[in-house]
């Protein structure tokens, strides 16, 4: 057993540079079989230099990255046997797949997970542990660590690589990486590669401050210099060692080297072996994070409540229809309004809640960077959401009932989530603050039993309505203070208090102020309700947490007294559409409806305005952004006018749109979507990188008027051709449209499409001819 965290542990150094030194070329992993003696010589050199742990020559060994002629099992066994020849503890080296995960790339979380699960199954019996290193994507890191933890009981050490701005390539900070890895239960975590020890110092300091786990540091031999076009590492042993010494004195527990370091460097580090790792004080905070945004729950933070279908017809409909774009849009609106995290609840009757929760998490995290609160009463849905989440979420919720605690707390423990506890149990919500505090204490104690520390528990003291339970409002508020006294943060769904009473906003605002003054940290509210968020901002000034009122002033600097504002010039509906004034379009449509019949508004205003815009675009007088803005404005207006129209006699029909498999460019397809919708076609948007089977399935199910396929690259035209062929083979009756930068009418014909259209207005014009 290594004395991890107690005494300094020394890992080995660079491997690729040592191979190059010996003139060995080709895939390093294959050298384990083709040149075992040379590989062993390097391992022995590091062992002789004093390394405690030898890292197997297996960095690129996973089924996504390695595409050579050997079996992964054989290479893995050879790598371990070679490393064992040095006579030291052997850790299997686990590197990234080299593929970008969805949504930015095409690799799924599950595929990445499977690749690492395979490695764990093959090697768990042979190795002393795993060193996961050089990861730059938090999501891939999560897939890897989860797979190792679920298929092996050996120690997992994990490091990420950061750039000079202290972020990973996908934008995660040291605090986020530390929180994710600590949450997933690694044994040690840290930083390697990309930077030299000097440049790494800020990252090391932040990791030491963010985690109580042992910290690993494996820098490169300084920053590479380019000489005659070749890369060299030339930091001296002395400078490297001096910088590493400072890390060790600050509390780093495991040291080693990465690119460019040699046995000579490791020999210097090994001189400190056995030294006691200095104790550190780490301030424990309650925090949740996405891959790029961390929200520390302190003072008052706002949790957006709009992604909860209770009482929201449009969201219910979107969930039932699988319209995740609607969820994404709601998430972004709340983000723009200043929410700090978002509640996500998908509980409607008759759906597969775990599957929908997973899809909803994927959709929301693709668009919004706010951390999520996974909200469900179904443990399977909670786990599906938490597992798919690229970050550390808040789980909403547990309560004082033992069987609920036993089902949910293990999920929170396994994934490192923060858990929100409701102060109720099988007897309901207690009437006194003291009794609620007692349930809170029980939840905190049970969480501790499951290995969840106090700072990963939050408590909701539960709001009852003032109309039905007036005397209990004060109990809820008082319980906040009691719970804060236990050292945990608090939450409340604020607006419940006013249910059943008139002028609810007044009650809500006043209650919010009372609650914040008694220790509320996280009101769950509608971030688009300016009165409520304004109350939070104002309170921060008066409570002294918004120092110098800076944030308040930034938010309200431009707020002029309403009376002094000049009445804005009102644009008519035709002008709104022509000029692309989306925000004004609704009101303009209402005014127009006061003057004409709904059908006249459509035919004499909207259709005409869109016609003028489309013509202007084709003549080169108007440009793409204007075309899109006009379409957006028209869509808003149609929504208003549509409510006044009798059930449309003739639905114009459905259009299925997709960017074909292998292509991730979707901006052109998205423009077509907006413009088609503005002309009242129903659009089923299948997204990008869509397999032909999915297109066929949608077409058979929806029986659309037309299918629109988009491809940007010459290479993906082939995939488009295959999709067309698959559609024909399946008996697709819809007209097939194709478009994209590299297409023209000739290519369209040659791949069997019915129509090529060069731009969105042409697409719609051609569609109209099919009616």
């Amino acid at each position: 057993m290594l004395p991890l965290g107690k005494q300094l542990i020394v890992f080995d150094g660079g491997f690729g540079s040592e191979l190059a030194l010996r003139g060995l070329e080709g895939l390093p992993e294959e050298l384990n079989i083709t040149h075992p003696e040379e590989v062993r010589a390097i391992h022995r050199a590091y062992a002789a230099a004093g390394a405690d742990v030898i890292t197997a020559n297996s960095f690129g060994l996973n089924r996504i990255k390695y595409k050579g002629k050997y079996a992964i099992a054989d290479l893995a066994r050879a790598a371990v046997e070679n490393a064992r020849a040095a006579g030291k503890e052997v850790f299997f080296d686990v590197g990234p797949t080299g593929a970008l995960l969805k949504p930015f790339g095409t690799l799924s979380f599950e595929e990445a997970y499977e690749a690492y699960a395979e490695i764990a199954r093959l090697t768990s019996d042979m190795v002393g542990g795993y060193i996961v290193e050089t990861f730059s994507d938090l999501y891939e890191l999560k897939a890897c660590v989860l797979a190792l933890k679920e298929h092996s009981d050996k120690p997992v050490y994990a490091t990420a690589t950061f750039d000079g701005t202290a972020r990973t390539l996908t934008g995660s900070s040291p605090e986020i990486v530390a929180q994710l890895l600590e949450g997933l239960g690694v044994d040690a975590l840290g930083v390697n590669c990309s930077l030299g020890p000097k440049e790494m110092a800020p990252v090391v300091d932040r990791l030491l401050a963010a985690t109580s786990l042992p910290v690993i540091v494996q820098p490169n031999r300084g920053l590479p210099t380019l000489k005659e076009g070749k890369t060299y590492y030339d930091l001296s042993e002395e400078d490297f060692t001096a910088a590493m010494r400072a890390f060790v004195e600050k509390g780093v527990a495991v040291v080693g080297g990465c690119c460019g370091t040699t046995p000579a460097f490791i020999r210097r580090l090994a001189a400190w072996k056995g030294q006691k790792v200095p104790a550190r004080r780490v301030e424990q905070v309650t925090a949740v994070c996405s891959s790029t945004r961390r929200t520390v729950i302190e003072n008052v933070v706002v949790c957006g409540e709009r992604l909860n279908p209770t009482g929201k017809k449009a969201l219910k409909a979107a969930l039932a229809a699988g319209d995740y774009a609607y969820l994404a849009a709601q998430a972004l609106r709340q983000q723009d309004a200043g929410a700090d995290l978002l509640d996500l609840n998908v509980g409607i009757p008759m759906i597969d809640e775990p599957a929908v929760m997973k899809n909803a998490v994927l959709a929301v995290q693709e668009y919004s960077e706010l951390p999520l609160q996974i909200d469900s009463s179904d443990p399977a849905a909670i786990e599906a959401g938490v597992r798919a989440y690229n970050g550390i979420p808040l789980i909403n919720s547990v309560n004082g009932e033992e069987d609920v605690l036993c089902r949910i707390l293990p999920i929170a423990k396994k994934y490192g989530a923060v858990v929100l506890g409701l102060t109720m149990d099988k007897n309901g919500v207690p009437r006194t603050a003291e009794a609620r505090a007692a349930i809170a204490a029980r939840i905190i104690a049970r969480a501790a039993d499951f290995g969840i520390p106090r700072h990963r528990v939050m408590i909701d003291t539960l709001v009852l309505t003032a109309s039905a339970e007036q005397p209990l409002v004060k109990e809820t508020v008082k319980a906040l203070t009691l719970v804060r006294g236990m050292g945990v943060k608090t939450a409340l769904g604020v607006s419940n208090v006013s249910f059943g009473l008139p002028a609810r906003p007044r009650l809500n605002q006043t209650f919010l102020t009372m609650a914040m003054e008694h220790g509320l940290n996280m009101p769950i509210l509608d971030p688009l309700d300016e009165a409520m968020t304004g109350t939070v901002k104002a309170y921060a000034v008066l409570a002294g947490t918004d120092v110098g009122a800076q944030q308040y002033i930034a938010a309200y600097r431009d707020a002029a007294p309403a009376a002094k504002e000049a009445p804005p010039q009102e644009e008519d509906l035709y002008g709104c559409v022509r000029r692309g004034l989306k925000r004004e379009a609704r009101a303009a449509a209402e005014r127009e409806l006061a003057q004409r019949e709904p059908l006249a508004v459509v035919n004499e205003v909207l259709v005409k305005a869109l016609g003028e815009v489309g013509e202007g675009y084709e003549q080169g007088k108007l440009f793409l952004p204007q075309l899109i803005a006009s379409a957006e404005a028209a869509k808003e207006a149609f929504a208003v006018v549509g409510e006044h129209l009798p059930k449309r006699a003739a639905d114009k029909g459905t259009v299925v749109l997709a960017t074909v498999h292998g292509d991730v460019h979707d901006i052109g397809k998205n423009i077509v979507k907006v413009v088609a919708e503005s002309h009242e076609f129903k659009v089923a948007d299948l997204g990008k990188d869509v397999p032909k089977e999915a297109v066929v399935e949608a077409v058979l199910r929806l029986r659309p008027l037309a299918v629109g396929l988009s491809a940007l690259m010459t290479t993906t035209v082939k995939s488009m051709e295959e999709t067309v062929r698959a559609l024909r083979a399946a008996g697709c009756e819809a007209k097939i449209f194709v478009g994209g930068a590299v297409l023209n009418a000739e290519i369209a014909r040659s791949i069997g499409a019915d129509h090529y259209t060069a731009n969105a207005p042409e697409f719609v014009k051609t569609l109209e001819t099919l009616l």
Binding site: P96, G98, A99, L100, P103, F104, G105, T106, S136, D137, D163, T165, R167, L169, T170, G171, S194, L226, E228, G229, K230, T231, T292, A325, A328, A329, L332, R333, D336, E366, Y367, S368, E369, G580, G620, F623, L624, P625, Q626, I628, A629, E632, G662, D663, V664, H665, D666, I667, N670, I671, V674, M713, T714, T715, T716, S719, A741, V742, N744
Partner: protein, 206 residues
Amino acid sequence: MNSSDGACKRAALAYLGFHGTPTAEMCAMVDDALREARSVARFRAVGEVFDVPPPAFLCEPYASFLAGCSACALVAMTLGVEIDRRIRALSVCDPARAVVLDACASALVEAEGDAWEARFGAERTYRFCPGYGGSDVKDNLAIFAALRPERIGMQLLDSGLMVPQKSMAGIVGIGKRKERRCGDCMLKATCTYIKEGTRCFRSENN
């Protein structure tokens, strides 16, 4: 970041299809989006100089492109995933702005790449990317094998596509100057600029 706003703005307007003199409103829109692009993008690049081009680049059209050069550099560069995410978010809540930001990001990666390549000396060609002038986009494989741009967060998909979307890989000739020409472009057959007798780019030296 080192590239000039003027060059980026001209290119972004061209990508958006603006011909002639843009209106003040368009200029403001592009200026604003360019500002956002610069704040969100994280330009990263890798490159390596070769005295003799790697085998994949010894054939045409690379041989003609590199004729007269003393060496060449393979380069790969990206703005990272953050700007992809931002464009995607805007495509949901403000599609018009998404299109403008997309164009600005395309212009920015070109301009940043040009500025970054100054390290190869003033006597150099423009960046010739696989796919231009009859070359095969699959030659990106050779660039990825040589440079391993995965370490700056780039990936080459099986389709030949690179992700993040605002990424480029190419070859720069060293030892002589060479400007961009429409004849090398993969879109020359359908380009509306060529039909009008104009072009979408403005080379650095005029």
